[in-house]
């Protein structure tokens, strides 16, 4: 075989390799979104479905009280005004010139409209308000906008999802896309969908936001986590919402 032929062979082999891996990635990526709910044990599903026993409802109830104190005077009944909010966030804010999530929108409202103080990211009040507002959209499909002004943020979020990181050198996609549904020790790996956030997580014994989960996941692959509310996590949140587009909002979901 002359050198030219050899080179041709190498190129075709390389092509074949790329094509195979690309089609495998495509089939994994195009797998229908599946809520974390479907990976749960029957007992945990029952706990989530029980409107009273679901511990997340404690935060929803607290959020309702906070809503009545400050938000209701402008926004009226949350059931009407906040019905679809959780399906649309994170969303591009024209006044800020960047994509913001629900937590940041609540704080923007508190600071600019109410002239009050911002709530700390993972505080009980913030979790209560996000849980209450997201709960209004329960059952509605996730439908975020990723075109136009949000496109850059979305592209960064997608890159984050496929970027290997940490000492274990794993990208989100390695587990949650390639191996979703497989076992990892005693656990079933989920797709990592975020349609139920904020969630009541049994491991934490409390409510947690999407970003707390991102921090937890990053630490699990021994990567340095980003701060709660950081641009990196908002971008990832947008991509994750888009990835689970069409899944019903489940807030407050119960997860392991």
């Amino acid at each position: 075989m002359n050198p030219l032929e050899l080179r041709g062979l190498a190129v075709s082999v390389l092509c074949a390799l790329i094509c195979t891996s690309a089609s495998a990635a495509d089939s994994a990526a195009s797998a229908a979104p599946r809520s974390g709910y479907s990976y749960l044990s029957e007992e945990t599903r029952r706990l989530q479905d029980d409107e009273f026993a679901n511990p997340g409802m404690l935060w929803v109830q607290k959020g309702e009280e906070l809503w009545a104190q400050s938000c209701q005077s402008c926004h009226g009944q949350a059931h009407d005004s906040m019905r679809t909010v959780a399906t649309r966030y994170p969303a591009y804010s024209r006044s800020l010139g960047r994509v913001i999530n629900l937590e940041q929108q609540i704080n923007r409202c508190r600071v600019t409209r109410l002239k009050g103080g911002a709530l700390a990211y993972e505080s009980e009040d913030m979790l209560a308000l996000t849980a209450f507002i997201s709960h209004q959209a329960k059952g509605l499909p996730v439908n975020v906008r990723v075109d136009g002004a949000a496109a850059a943020s979305f592209a960064r979020g997608r890159a984050f999802f496929y970027q290997r990181r940490g000492q274990l050198n794993l990208a989100c996609a390695n587990c949650h896309e390639r191996y979703a549904g497989f076992r990892l020790h005693g656990e079933t790996i989920s797709q990592g969908q975020i349609n139920g956030f904020p969630i009541y997580r049994e491991l934490w014994q409390t409510m947690g936001s999407t970003h707390r989960m991102f921090v937890w996941c990053n630490e699990a692959v021994r990567a340095e986590p980003y701060p709660l509310g950081s641009r990196e996590y908002v971008d990832l949140e947008l991509f994750e919402r888009w990835r689970g587009r069409g899944l019903p909002i489940e807030t407050p979901a119960v997860r392991r």
Partner: protein, 106 residues
């Protein structure tokens, strides 16, 4: 005062057995957890839960550190007369949380 949730039917027939449910938001720290600095988080629990029906005690629970957060109780009551169902949770620091509902016998 911590957030509590209760569920008592508004009305029931005399002799009927009804389900009563109660839950309180509480971390129930068991004393075996550490904060980010490695310091032990001290025990912080609800120690007593009492439910009374028209003044008479129907359930009393002593809680221990082994219970998970946001303790939830569910029990049955045989209805005899109209009256209020009162719930009382006592924290180890003495804080008392109360909640109550009116039960109408038809």
């Amino acid at each position: 005062m911590p957030n509590s949730r209760i569920k008592v039917p508004e009305s029931a027939a005399a002799g009927e057995s009804i389900e009563i449910r109660a839950m309180i938001m509480h971390p129930m720290e068991n004393g075996f957890n550490f904060d980010s600095q490695g310091t032990t988080i001290p025990v912080h629990i609800i120690t007593d839960f009492v439910c009374t029906y028209d003044g008479a005690e129907i359930v009393r629970v002593q809680l221990q550190p082994g219970l998970s957060a946001n303790p939830y109780f569910s029990f049955y009551l045989t209805v005899t007369r109209s009256g209020s169902v009162d719930f009382k949770w006592t924290d180890q620091d003495g804080t008392v949380t109360t909640n109550s509902a009116q039960l109408q016998v038809t």
